[in-house]
Assembly symmetry: C2
Homo-oligomer: 555 residues x 2
């Protein structure tokens, strides 16, 4: 059965049963249909209890074979619930663009899914649309300001804030707008990003509450004057309107897993251009409601976990209780040099070669004072000898590990019990969490630290443009912001073909983009995609609605 068929056949419960079981008072629940609700955090009782522990699910470097990180997140939470824990999931919302393109949904898979799968993967409760609307309202207000006399002296050549759409549309990457003469605006070169790559999305996910949201929106730098003075949204005076446009979207969305575990699915910043994890508000709300919160961060641990631990955990001021690193036999084989088409044959030696990638991720997490648990996400094609070998290897390296069959069993079965036990044991161990770098370190040195300690690079090479940007960052007083490195997810290096655990390479920094609202400096290495394209045969070609109103062709 496909994920969609499994999801449709699942016994989904009315969302008030889930919210009641989670101890959420009815007045804090805003229904969106029968199976989705927004939760107003201001209406939860602040009982002053200890906030729940955070379990971060990350992964080894992803491969085209897929690693099933969301599936493991859901499966782990279900298994923790099965073990009697009061648990809640915090996940990102899927982006519509990739759903219509090729990626498919982002709600887990098999029997470890959040429901209703089709609604979450389509418009859900409209949060991304609200973010798109706020983003594009700001863009229109900027161009209108220039058109109406340009009192601020905005340099149209130096506007850095882009319009966004939640669609994969390569034809909008590079555009010229404002053509048609004096009544149609000021011509300038521009481009569209996908909504999840926008700073408004990053701001949305890092805001603590409505006031902080307004502050951060006001802090967004959208461009500069002709004499290079940075200009912010506050200079335009529209941070209030943008806050109003996001007032309802900022409330976390409650859904359920197939096994009935509550999940807050909220926010979805790109893991390359932004920090790649769900909203701070959702994580905090989940911690208020549950003893354990299972959450994930995008891409491999070099990207998602590093940003989670250095950006999000710092902004929200918490220490994670445990980290899980998802590995698969297939991914280990690919990092061991096997092509995607040759993965079916058992090959312990290739698995062994691939562990160098996993090992570096594990050692990296230990640098934050955390001892990760490896979850080997089982696929039907895995040979028992391969699984056994990996577990034995982990034991020899002193790494806690468990095989998890959560795709096939979900929370209804024992497939994730051992993983859950290992995670509970990890939560019982003391944690001496520390960020990788202090904020006082200059931006340049923050980048060097991450490159050396996490990626294993010999050094960092800054382009001429990047050096100019570093000077501007110092001049504008932004040197104490954390860095958000945009790098290929397929390799520790900036070369996607260097699998395993490469050494002896240099990280090439092309450009730096200050995101003063989100509160980090984006560091672009290699080619970074902020607006994907559609494939030759888009998934949209298979989609439809059947005679009963059910979704067809969602993956």
């Amino acid at each position: 059965m496909s994920d969609l068929e499994i999801a449709r056949n699942a016994a989904v419960r009315p969302i008030e049963e889930i919210s009641d079981a989670a101890g959420i008072p009815r007045e804090a629940v805003e229904f969106h249909g029968r199976f989705k609700a927004k939760i107003d955090p201001r209406l939860l009782s602040a009982d002053g209890g200890t906030p729940g522990s955070v379990v971060l699910v990350s992964a080894m470097s992803p491969t085209p074979a897929g690693e099933g990180k969301s599936t493991c997140t859901v499966g782990l939470a279900d298994s923790l619930a099965r073990a009697g824990q009061r648990v809640m999931i915090a996940l990102r919302e899927p982006s519509l663009g990739p759903v219509l393109g090729m990626k498919g949904g982002a709600t887990g898979g098999g029997y470890s899914q959040v429901l209703p799968m089709d609604e979450i993967n389509l418009h859900f409760t409209g949060d991304f649309h609200a973010i798109t609307a706020a983003n594009n309202a700001l863009a229109a207000l900027i161009d209108n300001h220039i058109h109406q006399g340009n009192a601020l002296g905005v340099d149209p050549r130096r506007i850095t804030f882009k319009r966004v759409l939640d669609v994969n549309d390569r034809a909008l990457r590079e555009v010229v707008i404002g053509l048609g003469g004096p009544t149609e605006g000021t011509p300038r070169q521009d481009g569209f990003d996908i909504t999840v790559a926008s700073e408004v999305m990053a701001v949305f996910c890092l805001a603590q509450d409505l006031d902080d949201l307004r502050e951060r929106l006001g802090d967004i730098t959208f461009g500069s004057t002709y004499d290079r003075t940075p200009l912010t949204v506050r200079d335009l005076g529209v941070e209030g309107a943008l806050t109003l446009l996001l007032r309802d979207a900022i409330k976390p969305n409650l859904v359920q897993t197939i096994a009935g575990t509550p999940a807050l699915v909220h926010g979805g910043p790109f893991a390359n251009i932004a920090h790649g994890c769900n909203s701070v508000i959702a994580t905090r709300t989940a911690r208020q409601l549950a003893d354990i919160v299972v959450t994930e961060a995008g891409f491999g641990a070099d990207l998602g976990a590093e940003k989670f631990l250095d950006i999000k955990a710092r902004a929200a001021d918490f220490a994670p209780g445990a980290v899980v690193i998802v590995a698969t036999i297939r991914a280990l084989k690919m990092h061991g040099g096997i092509a995607k088409t040759e993965l079916a044959a058992p090959d312990v030696e290739a698995v062994a070669r691939g562990t160098e990638n996993l090992l570096r991720h594990v050692r990296n997490i230990e640098k934050f004072g955390l001892s990760p648990v490896v979850a080997v996400n089982q696929f039907g094609t895995d040979a028992q000898e391969e699984l056994d070998w990996v577990l034995e290897w982990c034991r020899s390296e002193g790494i806690e590990a468990a095989v998890a069959d959560v795709w096939g069993q979900g929370g209804g079965g024992p497939g994730g019990d051992e993983l859950a036990a290992k995670v509970l044991a990890a939560l019982d161990r003391p944690v001496d969490f520390a960020h990788l770098y202090p904020l006082e370190l200059p931006v340049e040195d923050k980048i060097r630290t991450i490159a050396r300690e996490i990626y294993g690079a010999d050094g960092v090479e800054f382009s001429a443009l990047a050096l100019r940007r570093l000077a501007e960052i110092r001049a504008n007083g932004w040197d104490n912001l954390p860095v958000c490195i945009a790098k290929t997810q397929y390799s520790f290096s900036d070369d996607p073909t260097l699998l395993g655990a490469p050494t002896g390479f240099t990280l090439h920094v092309r450009e730096l983009i200050p995101k003063t609202g989100a509160g980090f400096i984006v560091v672009k290495t290699g080619a970074v995609m902020t607006m994907p394209g559609l494939p030759k045969e888009p998934a949209a070609l298979q989609m439809d609605v059947d005679a009963d109103g059910n979704a067809v062709g969602l993956f």
Copy 2:
């Protein structure tokens, strides 16, 4: 008090009380927060009763003084409910672009409003966002098709389908997309419309059900091949995906008036480039649930009512039971030659001169076999002698009329009682409804008929481009579609400065745009705006959220 303050102080009831009172079974109700719900028409009992009568609220030619058509629609419905009638309202949803710009909301005014005013005026239940997403997914799929080999032979110079955003953004009216080289799409001239001007919106509002929606989406012509063969969405094979994206949005939204009258607020096609009334599905659902459905059509009766009667009533196959034409003393004075700044002084002679505009609208509606009721929407500045004079004049012309104080009193007071009584009397009179023209008439002659019979023009002049389009329309077999004339709303002519009831003019047709999915031919006369701009001081500057989460600065 401002409309927002009145709305916030109103005692809004949980939406299930409204749906229960309207006889809507709970299983058909999908809550969106506490005060909004989507109604699934497929889950209503088809009890075979007589569908409710439709009362269309239209207006004399609008002026900058405002006529309060939505306010009258709400107030009339409240007054009918007060008279013991089982009544439901069907209204369009507001567009976010104008709300952030200058128009303010579109939910009525004073004590005749639909609630929750702020939520309806902002994202509401996300319908427009879903339409935007479907529209732009289609645009991306078209450009992707060209990029990926262009198997259909799409001529990039002849793509007529545009991207849309629900924002006032003049800088997007004329753009060039696909720049940046071979990996970034195919460069071409393009432009963005506001969402409410899109054909997807028109299709959404004319569809009978999901199957009809899919058919109409498939029928949209997006461009042509190099040898000028029209290409449709069905040729691309993505009508199913677009239907899926609109599957939930297509369900009508239930809200309430301040007086507790149920209102379906659904769909919002522009009244210039499209037909300007709420969805057929909402109107049909309201007719199934109530004995009287009060609905409105955009702009004056020459535009909105004509399209309602010739396009919507034909597509949905019903005859309206009564028509109301809203007039105001202020608008009559402006049509009588008084400037907007001079309206305060009582001036019966100016009012008398202005009645020529009202009279032509009344006689026009009679050509459809309907006897309109004139509603004089009372403003605080109106002199009693002016109001008396208008009523006496109506009597002398054989026109039913009533003064309605619905802004100040709403459904709680008797301000609309007389209007309600006149409308009930009109509903009791037999109607001999007929469309103005048969579909078999050539498009050119349909335009001539409307220009002569409704606008009072001497003749029609077609541009060279329009003549070429007429030939294409004939060649492509589209000659039997109705026409949707885009004309200034301020005058019966295509010159916005010709107020009153001008004669001796020619209507200038610049261009014809076949909308084969919506099922009409748009006829452009004069300058038609499909993407508004923001004013120098956008309303957004005043908007914010207060400490309690309430909207501030909505008008």
